[in-house]
Symmetry: C2
Amino acid sequence: MPNFSINIIPDHKQVTANEKESLYHAMVVAGIPLKASCGGKGTCSDCKVLVREGKVESLTTGMLTEEEQKQGYMLACQCFAQSNLVVEVPEESKLTEHRIVLSNNPAGGSIAQNGDERIGILEEEPERAGEGPDIPLFKRLFLKVPEPSLDDMEDDIGRVIRVIRKETGVELLRPTLNVLLTLPNILRQAGWKVTVSLAEGKGYKSVEITGVEPGHIEQKYYGLAVDIGTTTVVAKLVDLESGQTVGIKGTYNKQAVYGDDVITRIIHTNEYPDGLRELRKVVVETINELIEDLAKEQRIKQTDIRTVVCAGNTTMTHLFLGLDPTYIRLEPYTPVVNNIPAVRASRAGLNVYPMAWVQCITGVASYMGGDVTAGVLVSGMAFAEELTLFVDIGTNGEMVLGNKEWLISCACSAGPAFEGGGIRHGMRAMRGAIEKVRISPGGAKVTCCTIGNVPPTGICGSGLIDCVAWLYKSGIIDRSGNFVSDVKSPRIRDSAEGKEFVLVWSEKAGRFTDITISEAEIKNLIRSKAAVYAGIRSMLQMVGLPVEAIDRVVIAGGFGRYINIRDAIDIGMFPDIPLEKYSYVGNSSVKGAKLALLSKKARDMLEEIAKKMTYLELSIGNTFMDEFVSALFIPHTDLGLFPTMQKR
Amino acid sequence: MPNFSINIIPDHKQVTANEKESLYHAMVVAGIPLKASCGGKGTCSDCKVLVREGKVESLTTGMLTEEEQKQGYMLACQCFAQSNLVVEVPEESKLTEHRIVLSNNPAGGSIAQNGDERIGILEEEPERAGEGPDIPLFKRLFLKVPEPSLDDMEDDIGRVIRVIRKETGVELLRPTLNVLLTLPNILRQAGWKVTVSLAEGKGYKSVEITGVEPGHIEQKYYGLAVDIGTTTVVAKLVDLESGQTVGIKGTYNKQAVYGDDVITRIIHTNEYPDGLRELRKVVVETINELIEDLAKEQRIKQTDIRTVVCAGNTTMTHLFLGLDPTYIRLEPYTPVVNNIPAVRASRAGLNVYPMAWVQCITGVASYMGGDVTAGVLVSGMAFAEELTLFVDIGTNGEMVLGNKEWLISCACSAGPAFEGGGIRHGMRAMRGAIEKVRISPGGAKVTCCTIGNVPPTGICGSGLIDCVAWLYKSGIIDRSGNFVSDVKSPRIRDSAEGKEFVLVWSEKAGRFTDITISEAEIKNLIRSKAAVYAGIRSMLQMVGLPVEAIDRVVIAGGFGRYINIRDAIDIGMFPDIPLEKYSYVGNSSVKGAKLALLSKKARDMLEEIAKKMTYLELSIGNTFMDEFVSALFIPHTDLGLFPTMQKR
């Protein structure tokens, strides 16, 4: 098969492909990732490209509009080269670096602050300088081991264990054979003054004595806390002695090129014999790149990282370790494992200290992973009197309701709308995404703010919520999401896909076309918000409590960072309780992972939370469906549930 | 350096050696092991050979008698070839297969039975046909795992663990990653009927789920119980399902060519850079040969052996795992480790299932190993009301005194006399060894029985005890071990080494010379028996109890099997209490290892015993030395301690 040369403009990169390999695949392999919500199946229009020179075969046109087709756009995932090519990749098709929420400190600029409706922000857990962590997963201790005598003839390792017990209170200790092989000479050559290394592995009840070195080793040692998100991966490098975060990096999950959501990725593993291996490989690569970056930045050796905690949803942890995710997707949705015992870094494929233990935080169900367990820990709700609602919204909405007595959780597939998927001009929260919208009555004036303050190329989840809220508040759409027929504005027009509202005219946009939202898309978003609200109500119903019983709402996740809570309440997505009860916890997944790195108490709490948390499968019974149908209005069929909107 | 060819007769084996390599070393390497109590240092005369042709350089003559030297005997360990050679190895220099006590069933013949003074024999622990072991270290379970449904969405491994818990009561379970990788498909393809494999590793508090296989696996699986003795190694192949011993094999420890006792072997590791590696290699080889033999005999695959328990003295377990034994020998005698966590068979070098856990029974001190812990378990003394004395005599005498309230142990270096060492015509309990002696008054008639009923080539430990007892009872020696001057017999004569008694004339012996015992050798044996008795008394002193307080004496070990208890009491080695209080427990080391294979309760008891057992270091204080000096008479300075002898 001949290999064709493909010249990518405007970047002037060179790629080769044969006639059996899609342009999309060739570019992804060459490190030029394209967007592809559908995972390269030709059913969205994310990966559109312009073939400027050469001959291609194009199988389908997917969701490309007639206009786009007229302009020569093709789906890269459906195109196969027949000759050498010159291909132009428009800005909006590129998978550029997302804005990843690394900490709660606003990234700066006015966009990141939600103006006067800004929500309360839970502080990053204080860095306990001086105090130090309780029992980190890896620890070094300088010991003065009592020398043996005829009055005290205990064995060498017994003497070491005796002192470790005294210093740490840890009862169950287990030396590795390697430690025993060198122990007697090290103890004696070092005059019985040694530094021991202790490592805990999840699922192993005894703490491993992994090293005994002569004298006082002053070298620093680190742990890595990783949030393996479906979209983004964030890693914190933590000094295990001080408990300080010394570095933090985030990047998009390289699995994104195989599809936006977990379902698409699971299907990929089923459709390709090598699919699981591939997905595992790229997420491990993603984490390894973060490790390399962090180590370079902090000028440490990667092998100084001695323990790793990962938090991720159940599909992500399965893919990370190469576990078959097939049955996560199929009723009755059983994962292989929720509580994964620690594995060695060398086995997990992470480029840190090879014998380091890598552990994943325990999850609860196929759609309730360790990232949520971590979030519940960080929220503090599992040990509080107040009734707290924890909400982490992405493609899936994961919600937990409860207090120190009980915890209920549920997951609703909100659909990809909040991540910008399934919306023609939707996009993830990347540079150029509209994330804030204000519309004056009747639509006379529309104000859009974008991430990075650049001309808009699309609209992200928080922008969509704003958009629908203000279309409603400005009287342009009615409670069902239909355009009100007597409102006239040049921005409201008919299209092949039905009525639509022009948010940004093409001349002001960072792309060739107007940025619009259609009636169908508005209804799509209403379905998403209804799913979230219905999930919350279903949990409340289960325990027989009204919405007003909620004392606190904790929002987590990257999407939650930029959401305008007032607007989200106004469209009926979140309960209509006072704004001051809402707070934002940031990336609680990586925060929980960090706590697990540092504290035995936190690790015990995580296990307790996972054990205590009941998972409510919403597809069983009618409660959720009834609630969902009632929530398909703005804000809700029962206006009594939204007193603030009722007052307007 | 030229390589000389050495022709070994009468076996007609060919060996090569250069001028820097001793004949002893060359032959050992070629698989022709010679005796060498001293470990090949030229200080005994065990490895004597006759150089029939060719030229050698001989460094020293060691303990060779003048007569032997005249006959042309040389020490193989001190001889270096200068040309091609023909070397004759006399029968008594060969390290032939020992008689190894495999079970309590007398090997047959009159020799093995101690006539009317035969001691009670504890029965082999009953083979619990049908009943089965409680929780073996490795176990297979056929499980019907409940299928998941929307009412029961637990994860796959959680469902498996739930059933295992119900069936076994084991709470802490930990799957390997390999199990998780194949679990979901195996469960579903097998219709949720699977066979799981469970493995426990010492020091790991959770039981490992090492395998999940589809359907009902009927294949048998085995455990191996090994007694790693300084002289002999015994292995039992145990069906882990029925608890039955299906095969048993014993052989001499290949380390024997590096010296008879643990001290010589420790010194070897210090003197040769590769010494430790060498000693580890040969003992692993020894065990692997037993494994191969057992597997062949039982027609099983070696990988069907899924778990291994070893019991051995502290030096043996150190050498087995390659741990540095140096400080076992040096005051204050601290071993590296008494409680060794399990290691994988692949790491230990054993040719069984590579992931099988290999565990060593926990010991107490440098000279109180896991073999004794096992013996105490098998004796039942640690959970009994009666005050029991446990005695395991070899080169070292290990003794334990106690009951369910307390346990004291001590080790006395009895010297090599009981193993036939340090006595010119002494030998181990091998074919041709005199093991029973009767002497008529005045020495007119001497009756000797040998192992194998062949012409005698030497005298072993039990024969020596008989010999000294009957030399005393026949009036030939006095209480101090001196020949009584007014007894005249052709058997009593002067030699270069002082007075000696001829046990067997050369014409009746299986060697060229008379078999004799000298006054010095008698005194040597008296020192050995005094050390044992003084150890027993020292323990009694520590708790302020008289000899009569002992309710039971349990004798263990290969040497104990053939000992004549009456004679041993008569020379003052064992307490003078009624014979019926004595019993013989056989190879309690391998028996204890077998119990550990089969029963969690036994494993817990072993840990409890090791924790509970106080070790009395006899070199501290004056008690032992005072007792020792008092015991240097036949039977003792204080005749009141030996009422039976007093009555005569």
